[in-house]
Structure formats: C-alpha cells, structure tokens
Amino acid sequence: MVQALNAALRQCLRDDPRTLVFGEDVGRLGGVFRVTDGLQDEFGARVFDTPLAESGIVGIAIGLAMAGWRPVPEIQFDGFSFPALDQVLTNLAKYRGRSRGAYDMAVTLRVPSFGGISGPEHHSESPETLYAHTAGLKVVSPSGPQEAFHLLVQAVEEPDPVIFLEPKSRYWAREEVSMTPSPLPVGKARIVRSGDDATLVAWGAMVRRCLEVAAAAEEDGVSLEVLDLRWLVPMDDETLVESVSRTGRAVVVHEAPRTGGMGAEVSARLMELAFRKLRAPVQRVTGWDVPYPAASAEHEYIPSLDRILLAVQRVLDE
C-alpha cells in the first residue's frame, strides 16, 4: 500500500502544480513509513518538512488553501492528530461556510491510523468518529493498495477537506494496482465479497479481517457478504441498505471503541431505513471501551476472528 500511496501522491504532484505535500519527516526522510519517499527529490520545494507541531501543520494548510494551493499534509500518527483537532474542527471544517463559499478548503489530511502493529502508545488510535461527527469534513479509509491509490487521488481532487485514514497494518500489503481513475464516485461503498446469510460491514484494516471471517464461515456452510464502506462521510446508505435488505442480517466491525463508534451510526441508519428487512438486531464487534492497550494485549482488543464469528452466530440464531 505504501507504494500505491506514493504513486498517487506523485501523480497528484505532477498533474497539479498547486499540490503541496508537507508534514514531519516527509521530505528528506520520505516519511516514517516511506509513503512520501523520493517526492522531495522530484518535486523540490513543493514537498517539505515542518517543525514538530500538528496544530501548526493543519493551521498552515488552511492558509495555504486560502492562497490557492492544494495542501496534502500528513500527521505522523493517529494518536498525534489531537493537537490539530481544534484547527480541524474549528476552522478546516467551517471555513467554506464562514466565507460563504469564497474559499475552497481543498485539504487532504493523511493520517496513518488504527492498530495491529504492536505500536507504542498513541500509535494505534481509531479517531474516525471524531472526524465523522464534524460537519464539513469528508472521511475515508482505504482497505488495501488498489483502494489506496484510487481513493487518495480522488480525495486530493476534492474541493472539500478530506480526512484520509490509512490503516498502518495494511501498509506492507501487496497487490497489483492499476493507476487509473477510481471507478467509483466519492461516497460509494463496495461489496468486496458477495453472500446471502449476513452482511459484514467494515472499513480500513477490518475489511481484510472480515474477508478472513467470510472464508472461515464458508467452511461451515455459511455465506457472508462483506461490504467495504470506504467513505464514512458521505456514507453510502444505498449500498448498505440494498445489501442488508437482501441478507437480512448485519454485523458491523471496527477497531474504535464501542460507545459512540461508527458502528452505532451504521446501526441507526439500518434501523431507520431497513427495519422491516432485518431478521435480527444489528451486531457490533468493536474495540472495548478502554484506551487502546499496550501491544501485548492488542490481540484481545482488536476484533478477532472468533469474536466476529460469535456475532455472526448471534444474528443467525435470531
């Protein structure tokens, strides 16, 4: 996925001379995950290192956008995005409105996100709910290398601010990537595996976990559909409702803590839009309501194969 993201950034920098890439260690080092490797060599001053200041990074992105640039800043890790939260919530999300459309906030904020890498503290957070709950932002998470290429190019081209949550545990995943425009418009989900008995709804790193669950379920004669939401905002109600109306059962899987997580939002929408098609209450398999634990306990926190299978059993049993 790292190379796909790198290729996407390279394409954006080439195609639009107003594109800027900046953040901590993204220039000379090429990023702590090498996502911006080689970009400074090719594009010079449009790719630069900033001082260690997340609020500063987002704040200057806002100003740069006002001056007609297309900033693609990076926050080094999810858990360090919080100093910038004020700039994101108070300004990035509101500037178009505040200026009555005079300014595009064409900012794509890249944030290496989620867990599963035995990371130190603050390196494995799932902040998507905070951003999804903030009107004025778009929020997306690619589940693999091809999605990463399509979605990043698409996000950078957006005139609206996009929070781009990259699953670090998928950074080293490999697949063939075609460097074509995204076949799907912004805000569209994707059925990544068809099935009849229940729909697993996920995004980011959990899409692969759900595919593992579907393969395991198949061994037991249970057919599971896996839906990659991709865009949390704007969320694709249509595909979600179509799938769950067909299967009648839904299990939402996310790493973020249960309370107030996006699983609750998906559940509420399904209840509102597909209540009579549901044969069972929507199940959520999530991180626990605890701060993200140390690496040694991570396997008990992130939704595991067994935990998701147990939830599938619960919807089957209704």
Binding site: E24, D25, R28, L29, G30, V32, D49, P51, L52, A53, E54, S55, G56, G79, F80, F82, P83, S118, G119, P120, E121, H122, H123, R258, W288, D289, V290, P291, P293, A294, A295, S296, A297, E298, H299, E300, Y301, S304, D306, R307, L310
Partner: protein, 321 residues
Amino acid sequence: MDERRCYRLMLLARRLDEEAVRLQRQGELVAFPPMQGQEAAEVASVMALRETDQIFPSYREHGAAVARGVDLVGYLLAYRGAWNGGAYDFAGHHFAPIASAVGSHLLHAVGWAMGRRLDSGDEVAIVFFGEGATSEGDASEAFNFAGVYRAPVIFFCQNNGWAISVPAARQTAGEIWRRAAGFGIEGARVDGNDARAVYESVAEAASRARRGDGPTLIEAMTYRLGAHSTADDDRRYRSSEEVAERRADDPLDRMRATLEAEGVDASFFEAAELEARETIGRVRAGLTVTSDPPAVEMFDFVYAAPPPALARQRAEVGELS
C-alpha cells in the same frame, strides 16, 4: 557533585541503552528510542535534585531513570509493549509515566509544581523534552503559565540536534533558551555533554524554584548519537561523518577523562564496567522471567470503579480467553 557516582550511572545508562537496542533486534522489546550521547544531560540533572523532586520524562529519559534508581525491568516493560507508560513504582520514585505525545507533558509539570506551591512544599518539578517539543503550542503555554504563576519547575530541554530526521536548524529559527525572556522566566544554555555544567545549572534552577523565584528554562546542548528509534534508519538523513565527528564529544569519554585527570586509576573504571554488565545481565534475566500483565487488565485502570457495561465487556474477554 559526586563525580565517580555520576560516571558509574552514566556508564550504566550507556550499557542499558546498548542492550535495549539488542533486545529489540532479538524480538524481546517491541521498539526502543536510544539516548546514546545524552548521558551527562540526563544523569547529572537528576543527581542535582532531591529524591522527592518530581521528574516528568518524555520517552528517551533512560539515563534519568537510571539516575533516579527506577526498577529497570519495570521501566523497559513499556518498550516491550507490556504496559503503556511503564510498570514501575511511579509514585515511590517520583518519576511520572513515560510520555510519548511530544510536548504534552510540560503543562503537567507546571500544574504539579503549582500544586506543590499551594501546599507550601519546596519540592520542584523537572520536565525533560527535546528541541522538537518546543515547536508544539503546548510548550509555549507551559512556559507562559509557569511564568505567570511562578511555578517551581525546571524546563530541561535536551537539544540533541535532531527530531527524527529534522535538524534543529529547521525546527526553529531562534535559540530556545532565549524564549524564556519572552515569557518573563529565567533561561540558560549549557553544554549538555559536560556533566558538571549540567549539575550546576540544574542545582541553581532548583534553588531558585525552592525559594519561590520561579521557573527556569535550561537548554542543554547535546547530540543524539543513535537513530530516533529502532524503527528509524538515520543514514537516510545524516552522514556517518557527522555522527563520527560528534562522537568525539562523547559525554562518557569526557567524564572519564575528567576523572583520569584527577588521578582516578584504571581499577575504578574496570570495576564500574563489571558492575554495569552485571546489572544489565540481571535486567535481561528479569525481563525473561517477568510476564506481561494479562490482557484483561486493560479494563482495570480505566476508572476508579468500572461501570457495569465495562465490567460486562471485561467478562466477555475473560470468557473468550
């Protein structure tokens, strides 16, 4: 300053640091940020304080942990991914949990110091951070609050030249110690690789704070001889020539030279080396026989008493294990 003790502690810090990198390469630790080159700054500063003065470390203060006598197995458990913040006696050692969110803990030190002042206590707080942390807004807020409230806090900035791959010259256009004047607090720059100079500057700052004359910002000039962490490859952004040049200013070598010039003979250094190696051997063995806390403990320190819904989640994990 007890120079022999300082050398022994600095040597132990160096050997611990080297061993921890090896432990990471062997899969025993998950990640480790070496502090090689910063031993004088971290050890001599702590030596200048009382045992009851509160230390606020960031994530690279292994030398300070050694100097404060923190249980090194419990300390390294943080880097083994066993418990965020570490698993040592925080309160007993007056050594706060490891802080990885850069710059966020300066305000904690200020608040603690304000609290001591309200109690008319004369302990001081020392907070360790790098030059990169001074770019965070929270750092400026901390300097400002400390000045306004005359908090008994020592801001100990180790300017080690690099914030991962960003050199100090690109981190700030100014000199960090000079910011102090702007906040109405005392500031000083010191050779961070000169143990005696560090000791004296911290002792002076502590004295100032104890008599009610407020905070001090000390900028200790040193150098990060190792990479940012075991996940970093520093050859991508700095030359080996530069590192070799700076190694000539190794604080451990300088301390040794100082002692030799004062007539300390070879047997002292041999004994110190032996003692350090024995301690490191005990730490390695200690890590091997110390289990990680069970995963369910992630529920046990979230609240003083877990609400029912959380207790149910804990039970669910217990069932699945």
